[in-house]
């Protein structure tokens, strides 16, 4: 038992207390949960210091399973990767809980909310600390449950109820892949212990590449689900039905981060299969670009944010796919803090003015200071992505043997940055600075520019400082994390090269385009192909509709058809016919032997027998006796059969 057990145990205990005694503690849940989560944040700091001084820690709690060849210990493996994510999870969670303690005042399901958010946090910390792939899977699923229950928080809204089911189902389909991956991992490595698996993978043991590829892709399938990669990305926007603090939790701290975490956790295994890496990079890249495009067309603030998260996660996944694991985690953490901030401030704006879509935006948002912070956050979100295009990882891109794919990844990466810049600019300005379009009839369609020269200077200054800080932080970060991840060692020379100018240019280009689009009068004609493209992305590529029409509805219809035609129509009809026939024969026999009490009403014999069970009702008055006769009948038949076999 180590004190680090407290990191998940504190929120877990708080959650259990609220689940069991929540009715009595209505409205007081946050007083329990905030200290619990804050304490586990402090414990995480201790763990961080411990790990950076003494290296990875292993904690053994108890034996979970020991059956045949399978043996699973419930324990923790705390290494550099774990502590970093722990800091993010518990830190963001603490902030979110504090925020929620105000946000949720007067809510009907106050206790339920805090019980579940605490459980959510506990599950994520357990996931990142788990030393066993099976336990990882268990907590992975537990998070799915938490998200399900939190999304259905406003259960009386049918949309929330539907969204919750949809989110869970999308995830559970993807988790089939993960579960299969876990079993495959066990078959391949003969253990599910993560440190052992990593050691085997790093030792260069002779493992067939095919099984590595298969298991990696299966595990990746789970990551696709949890991290909302295409084609499973549709769940994340639905998750917005949850109260805003939950969205912040899902997007920044828990849930979606599990995907990149899993990939990085198993990075030594991943790099053994170039094919799997290629698939991961492709899926990530496509998602990043697609979601960025969708995001730039959405009019709903929360949906913009959802697709922006999808896009950023796609980016992280792509980074894992090209072997830039350290950069992926760097991006993950930067994005986590940024997104949490963005959500909580959006939530404030929306809650303050009671508007859910930008069209309703009537007034200017909160203070300029907030806007300034926003710009900082924005730069923070774009720049980590820039880092990997240059310096330490430049060689990765160049060393890929397939140059076409290499170029494609470059293009996708740059295009993503470009569009990220556009949508961040648009949504930010609309929330905080812009007057609503169409609010004033007859007024000039050109809207006052949000940024004066002063602002621009400010931005430049902040950007410079950020980049400088970033470089320092990045160098420390890469040095700290690299022992915990697999793949090629990061070059000792971690200077940023000139290549950083290219993605920077892409980002600035995006800003400029967005800014110009902003100035341009809305009445200008746009070419038809652009309109079509716009509509396509506005409708999020029609993924929801495609799933609904081609997958969900046919499944339910077919199930219904099968139940009526096969289960009732064939199997049941056969049995009922057989049953009725034997009752009939028994009756007929009974009449012959003149058993007392047998009814004379045999009008039903020989008639068409209805398929449904109700037909048998006709025999109701004499059920018991008939049953006995059926027994006799079958007994005779059975004895004859028996005689035939044995005799």
């Amino acid at each position: 038992m180590s004190i680090y057990t407290l990191i998940p145990l504190l929120p877990l205990t708080a959650s259990f207390i609220l689940i069991l005694f929540g009715e009595g503690l209505q409205g007081k849940g946050h007083r329990l949960v905030i200290p619990a989560v804050a304490l586990s944040f402090l414990m995480s700091i201790v763990a961080f210091l411990d790990v950076s001084a003494n290296g990875p820690i292993r904690v053994h709690l108890y034996e979970f399973l020991d059956v045949g060849r399978l043996s699973v210990d419930l324990g923790f493996y705390i290494d550099q990767l774990t502590v970093l994510i722990l800091l993010l999870v518990t830190g963001v969670s603490t902030v979110v809980q504090v925020y929620a303690s105000r946000y949720m005042i007067g809510d009907l399901r106050h206790s339920r909310f805090f019980a579940l958010t605490a459980l959510f946090t506990a599950a994520m910390t357990l996931l990142v600390m788990s030393s066993n792939l099976l336990l990882t899977f268990i907590f992975w699923e537990l998070m799915g449950l938490c998200s399900y229950l939190l999304i259905s928080h406003y259960a009386e809204r049918p949309s929330a109820a539907r969204a919750a089911t949809k989110v869970f189902l999308v995830n559970s389909v993807a988790d089939v892949g993960l579960a299969i991956g876990v079993v495959l991992t066990f078959l391949t490595f003969d253990t599910l212990d993560i440190p052992q698996i990593l050691a085997i993978a790093e030792s260069g043991a002779d493992i067939p590449t095919l099984s590595i590829t298969l298991l990696t892709l299966c595990l990746f399938c789970g990551a696709v689900g949890k991290s909302a990669q295409m084609p499973a990305h549709i769940w994340l926007p639905f998750a917005m039905e949850a109260p805003t603090p939950v969205s912040a939790l899902i997007h920044a701290a828990t849930m979606v981060n599990a995907g990149p975490f899993l990939l990085v956790r198993l990075s030594p295994v991943l790099v053994l299969s170039p094919t799997a890496m290629m698939v991961i990079a492709t899926v990530g890249g496509v998602t990043a670009l697609f979601a960025a495009l969708v995001s730039s067309t959405q009019t709903d603030v929360k949906r913009t944010l959802a697709y922006s998260t999808i896009s950023q996660l796609g980016f992280m996944t792509m980074l894992c796919g090209v072997g830039a694991f350290v950069a992926a985690i760097f991006h993950l953490i930067a994005h986590g803090f940024f997104k949490a901030f963005l959500f909580l401030s959006t939530g404030n704006v929306l809650a303050a003015t009671h508007r859910h879509v930008e069209e309703d935006a009537k007034e200017k948002g909160p203070s300029r200071a907030m806007g300034g912070l926003f710009i900082g956050a924005l730069i923070l979100s774009v720049i980590p992505a820039l880092v990997i295009f240059s310096g330490p990882y430049g060689y990765l891109w160049l060393s890929q043997s397939f140059s076409a794919a290499n170029i494609a990844l470059w293009i996708v990466g740059l295009a993503t940055i470009f569009f990220t810049a556009i949508y961040l600019f648009t949504s930010m300005t609309t929330i905080f600075h812009r007057s609503p379009p169409g609010a004033k009839d007859g007024s000039p369609t050109v809207i006052a520019t949000p940024f004066s020269a002063k602002h621009v200077t400010g931005v430049v200054v902040i950007a410079t400082v950020m980049v400088a800080v970033l470089i320092v932080v990045w160098r420390w970060f890469a040095g700290f994390l690299s022992p915990a991840v697999g793949g090629l060692p990061i070059q000792a020379n971690m200077e940023l090269s000139v290549w950083i100018l290219v993605p920077l240019a892409a980002a600035v280009g995006g800003w400029v385009v967005a800014y110009l689009g902003f100035l341009r009068p809305k009445t200008l004609e746009t070419p038809r192909w652009r309109k079509k493209l716009y509509v396509f992305f506005l409708n999020k590529g029609y993924f929801d509709e495609i799933y609904d029409v081609f997958l969900v509805r046919p499944t339910i219809k077919f199930a219904d058809w099968m139940w009526r035609r096969i289960d009732q129509g064939i199997i049941d009809r056969f049995v009922v016919t057989l049953g009725s026939a034997s009752v009939g024969i028994a009756r007929w026999l009974g009449r012959f032997v003149d058993t007392a009490g047998i009814s004379r009403t045999v009008e039903s014999i020989g008639k068409d027998i209805d398929a449904s069970g109700q037909a048998a009702r006709r025999y109701e008055p004499h059920t018991l006796q008939h049953n006995l006769l059926v027994v006799v009948f079958w007994l005779i038949a059975a004895l004859g059969f028996f005689y035939w076999i044995v005799g």
């Binding site: 049918p158 079993v183 049941d572 059926v630 079958w634 007994l635």
Partner: protein, 491 residues
């Protein structure tokens, strides 16, 4: 503790329900009938706990064996004993009846005493089935379990009860007769009814196939396996709550138990030869049952079809012939008893309020019944094997076990779990969330203390096994290893 008690604990457990039945004859007041039955079942549950505590996990053979000559002419004995496999099923058998009594506290209004007697009769007979070491005794009590169930369905059941009862009896009788043929054929050749000795005998190759088939079908109908499952939705949905709980919770397990006790040890070669077909049928059952559940509009039928799916997992595990698979299957039987029992109790609680089992008649229960919805959500997710609940452990072990055989089964069976998530959550969405669709659903009251007491033991058990399955697995490990190793050495 006196040796009379300690050495004969199994006999005492078997006797207690029958003593309770006799005692009920002298009790007339409604309240005291209920209390007497509850006390009897609780005593038995306590005895079962005592049995579990004094059970030796390391011992691979039978424990607490008692043998008395019964019909010496035919070599029939009263012989009981438990090993690691049966001790868990005995625990399950004694765990559910007290909850059944609590669950039918208010809902059984007519012929209460008879109903309580039937519950006790089922419990007593089931205990004999799971502990019998004599094939004749086993078969006799196997038959006895059928009769109280039939009466429960026909006398206290829903609107379509007679047809459902008839169907149940027809199926069960067919199964029983096949079983009778099998057991008679076995003992005629081996010259004994002792189950352990039956396993050691070499049967003539010609008859082996047919005997195996008869036994197999007998158990397959009870379990039920795929083409023999249509009695189950009718029987479950028409039976009163306690009947459904006992039927799904305990009676179905006789089939799985029979496979492990008879088919595997007595006919290892035949079992092995049949295994591919059985595995395919199991996977089909997993998917088909889940698919059928998706189409149901009746809560009880939905749960019933989910049982078909879960029982598919049980056969999948048993016929993969390794520790992981068989232990997973036994655990799955136990946990399915808990979760499905709970689901039927829950549906019963709804039915008590509105007299409707139709999903469409509910909706928006979360506003008025937060406790109920919390419990329902827990068992809905437990039912499709969400990790940290007990069913996950069983299903995962089964998947690992069957993965040694053929990986295709893992992939297909996982589909069943997704279907499980789909029908359970869809049900939850329609019943608990959204807005109330009927007037009755708007006037629902939350669970009262008695109802919470009915369901909480199951909730605790489900979560406890889910996070710490060790004790159950350790209890069965030695016995299962014995069975599996013996099988492996023969093949």
């Amino acid at each position: 503790m006196s040796s009379l008690f300690a050495e004969h604990i199994l006999t005492w457990m078997i006797l207690v329900p029958f003593i309770g039945m006799v005692a009920l004859l002298f009790v007339h007041e409604r309240k005291w009938v209920l209390v007497t039955t509850l006390a009897t079942t609780l005593v038995n549950a306590a005895l079962a706990l005592q049995l579990w505590v004094s059970f030796d996990n390391v011992e691979k053979g039978l424990q607490f064996v008692e043998r008395v000559e019964w019909m010496p002419t035919f070599g029939i004995q009263y012989a009981v004993g438990v090993d690691g496999i049966s001790v868990l099923l005995v625990l399950l058998t004694t765990f559910l009846p007290p909850l059944c009594v609590l669950g039918s506290w208010d809902s059984i209004t007519t012929r209460l005493k008879a109903f309580m007697m039937l519950i006790l009769l089922v419990e007593g007979a089931m205990l004999v089935v799971f502990t019998a070491l004599d094939a004749f005794l086993f078969f006799m009590m196997w038959e006895v379990t059928m009769i109280p169930m039939y009466f429960m369905i026909v006398l206290w059941g829903g609107p379509n009860r007679v047809a459902a009862g008839l169907k149940y009896v027809l199926y069960s009788l067919t199964g029983s007769l096949l079983l009778l043929i099998g057991i008679l054929a076995l003992s005629l050749q081996a010259g004994t009814f002792d189950i352990l000795s039956l396993a050691g005998y070499d049967y003539t190759p010609d008859s082996e196939f047919w005997i195996f088939l008869a036994l197999f079908l007998g158990f397959a109908i009870k379990l039920p396996m795929l083409p023999f499952h249509t009695w189950l939705p009718d029987a479950h949905s028409e039976a009163p709550t306690a009947g459904s709980v006992l039927l799904a919770g305990v009676l179905l397990k006789m089939g799985g138990y029979g496979f492990i006790r008879f088919c595997l040890p007595i006919f290892p070669e035949m079992s092995h030869a049949f295994a591919p077909a059985v595995l395919w049928m199991s996977v089909a059952a997993v998917l088909y049952g889940g698919y059928m559940a998706l189409a149901q509009v009746d809560l009880k039928r939905l749960v019933a079809y989910s049982s078909v799916s879960h029982m598919g997992f049980v056969t999948l595990g048993i016929f993969s012939f390794n520790n992981e698979g068989v232990e997973g299957a036994i655990l799955q039987m136990v946990t399915h008893g808990l979760t499905t029992g709970a689901m039927f109790l829950i549906v019963g609680q709804l039915y008590d309020r509105t007299k409707s089992r139709s999903i469409a008649d509910y909706g928006g229960l979360q506003q008025r019944m937060p406790r109920f919805v919390a419990i329902l959500s827990l068992f809905a997710v437990a039912s499709f094997g969400l990790p940290t609940t007990s069913n996950f452990i069983g299903e995962f072990l089964i998947l690992v076990g069957v993965s040694y055989e053929n990986f295709v089964f893992v992939v297909l069976a996982m589909g069943g779990i997704v279907l499980g998530a789909a029908y359970m959550l869809w049900m939850l969405q329609r019943v608990a969330f959204g807005e109330a669709r009927t007037e009755a659903a708007k006037k629902m009251t939350d669970l009262n203390t008695r109802e919470m007491w009915t369901i909480m033991p199951l909730a605790i058990a489900v979560v406890a096994i889910g996070v710490y399955p060790g004790p159950l697995l350790e209890a069965m490990d030695a016995s299962v290893t014995f069975v599996v190793e013996r099988l492996a050495s023969i093949l």
